[in-house]
Symmetry: C2
Subunit: 383 residues, 2 copies
């Protein structure tokens, strides 16, 4: 017995989604490299052994176009049957960049999903407009900082949170390194910080939101999200690189949690550290975040502690807003060593519908944190 002859594949709709890859190669091998993607990401079978019929005609990926970009780069649009994915984000990522992530010289640039596949994903629960309504900030960029440094107690972090909120910040997130350490345990930290921010809001009349970091072991993420909600958190911070994109999607889809989500880029930076491999800034920090339910996408801005270029940041901003069916646009959230002087260039690149994230830099202006926040807010309002 061997493989069935011309097996019929049931349930095919004919709908396909498309992925744009950049391939490193030359004329002599690029066609073979594109075909290799078509096989590797679907049947994972030697081309000559693939059964004829539906599998070869529909399940194997198809090269829609293959164009030369320069003397070593080609652009390939490859399409896949939506049924290879089912309705699962995990399997979508598997088809787009599963095994081929291990092959050098292949980069995912963008993807293009038909409505039938987009309909399987709820995407961001709030997005730009509904989050703005929650915060009652309709027009200007949102202002955010992070509670740090790691090592402070819950009470000390809560004091900082209160000061930031009094100054008029819109969003105060846990530093992404705050998890459940003995010096500032999750529950105590969240209760104290949420309370401090609520007290400040009562004084200012503003709606500053505290965003705890719910990145946690698999059996505790939902629990921490619910605890945070109950304690009065106004949004959530999560690291999909540590808990998976699908866990972020699960939180976004949870009606009982119902809070905006800010996505932090920890741990999957290797997708972008070399331009020949990985996933583009546009797809990784833009499109994919939206598919996985983030309402804001943090990335290191150009000119800070990291190495992103201005053009890459512009691509992220574009990926956060490009039409994707019913998936709402989200806030690009440049951070990573920003300071007060960065505001004019952030404004140029991101426009008004962005979250400006300044962490340590907010401690530098003066010893008065409330005054520093007011200065930050003033700069944003006048640029």
């Amino acid at each position: 017995m061997t493989l069935p002859q011309r097996p019929r594949v049931t349930g095919l709709s004919g709908d396909r989604f498309r992925v744009l890859y950049t391939l490193i190669g030359d004329e002599s091998d690029v066609q073979a490299r594109a075909l290799d993607i078509c096989l590797e990401q679907t049947v994972e079978f030697p081309g000559d052994l693939v059964p004829d019929g539906d599998i070869r005609d529909h399940i194997v990926g198809q090269i829609d176009s293959l164009d030369r970009l320069d003397d070593r780069r080609y652009a390939a649009w490859i399409s896949y049957a939506v049924e290879t994915v089912g309705a699962e984000l995990t399997q979508f990522l598997n088809v787009v960049f599963g095994n081929i992530s291990i092959k050098p010289g292949i980069r995912v640039e963008q993807f293009d999903l038909p409505d039938s596949l987009l309909a399987q994903f709820k995407g961001p629960r709030f997005g730009v407009w509904d989050w703005r309504k929650l915060l009652n900030v309709p027009v200007r960029p949102l202002l955010c900082t992070a509670l740090k440094p790691m090592g402070l107690s819950a009470a000390e972090l809560a004091k900082l949170a209160g000061q930031f909120a009094l100054g008029g910040l819109d969003l105060i997130k846990d530093d992404h390194g705050l998890a459940n350490q003995p010096f500032a345990p999750f529950e105590e930290r969240v209760e104290r910080c949420a309370e401090a921010v609520a007290r400040a809001n009562a004084q200012t009349g503003l709606r500053c939101a505290y965003m705890p970091n719910i990145t946690a072991p698999a059996d505790q993420v939902l629990e921490r999200a619910r605890f945070a909600k109950q304690a009065g958190a106004g949004a959530l911070l999560i690291c999909p690189g540590l808990v998976s994109f699908d866990v972020m999607r699960q939180i976004a889809d949870s009606d009982d949690i119902d809070l905006p989500i800010m996505s932090h880029p920890s741990f999957y930076g290797s997708f972008v550290t070399h331009e020949d491999n990985g996933v583009s800034h546009y797809a990784l920090y833009g499109q994919l975040q939206r598919l996985a339910g983030a309402d804001a996408s943090i990335y290191p801005n150009f000119g800070g502690r990291f190495a992103f270029t201005r053009a890459q940041c512009e691509q992220i901003v574009a990926g956060c807003a490009v039409p994707m069916g019913q998936l709402k646009p989200i806030f690009p959230t440049p951070g990573g060593g920003m300071n007060m002087h960065s505001i004019p260039t952030i404004r140029e690149v991101c426009g008004q519908h962005a979250i400006y994230l300044i962490g340590g830099g907010l401690h530098r202006h003066s010893a008065d944190l409330v005054a520093n926040v007011q200065h930050f807010l003033n700069l944003v309002e006048t640029h």
Copy 2:
């Protein structure tokens, strides 16, 4: 108000874990780059603003050594207080390679954990020796194949599984692209394949294990693992790059599931596609898999469809067996385009305590799959 002066950090034990990084740099900047890691991975705060006292002395990472490797590479052992991690795998990864994953020119080579931290992780439930007992194969390498190509029905896949089991394979896994697609839904597939393998085992007297792919949306992974167990699966396949390393750890730690786990490398290949960045083969496919509970670690062997070198594969084999406290050694599982001719070199590199994974290549020898498996087994036994 500003930051507290000399804040006291409670709960510090003095225990530290160490990570070996390779840094790209030169004499003029490498010290600064190493210090940057110490700050970025912990306090994420400008060095001059870090409060004196416990935070500066204990929470900030410490450079234990910094040695020149060649004209552009340095090796830095950096240590962190175990309390920065708590007892969470997610936060461990965050400290080891969170933000710095986004900075080019930093590679995690290996890590070295004190017993107090290792004790927080159960690691592989079976490992090499206990899995061998389950299968009743005490000495020779284990033989494995994958059910494919995607597009076949559950009934067709089950027929293949039965043939492979009759031939005498030890392990039959779902291809990692089989999820819950309409053409071979998870539950039907698992029931049929497990049944076919059980039937063959009754005939052969062997203990071939069927390993369904339980990679799934976050709210369904445990459910699928339990369904698989109930249906008679003998082990599980999972892609930690898609569901997270901590979800794999959760499955391994679940007493009611109690099945060996094979880890598939889908989606996180970008960690290894450029030698200046990411995570070493040793740490990624060896040490980390064990910390996260895998009993076997699949990787693309050299000489197959992928670009790993023989030396990199040797490093993986070493990482699967290096002493790590109570964490058991696991099976390196070379795959990715292997065929019958690869057996002698696999044997040289991996030795006997490995799983040899041949997928499509098993269909090539002849049209009789049972005979092909017997040929494969014979080759393994005579090399």
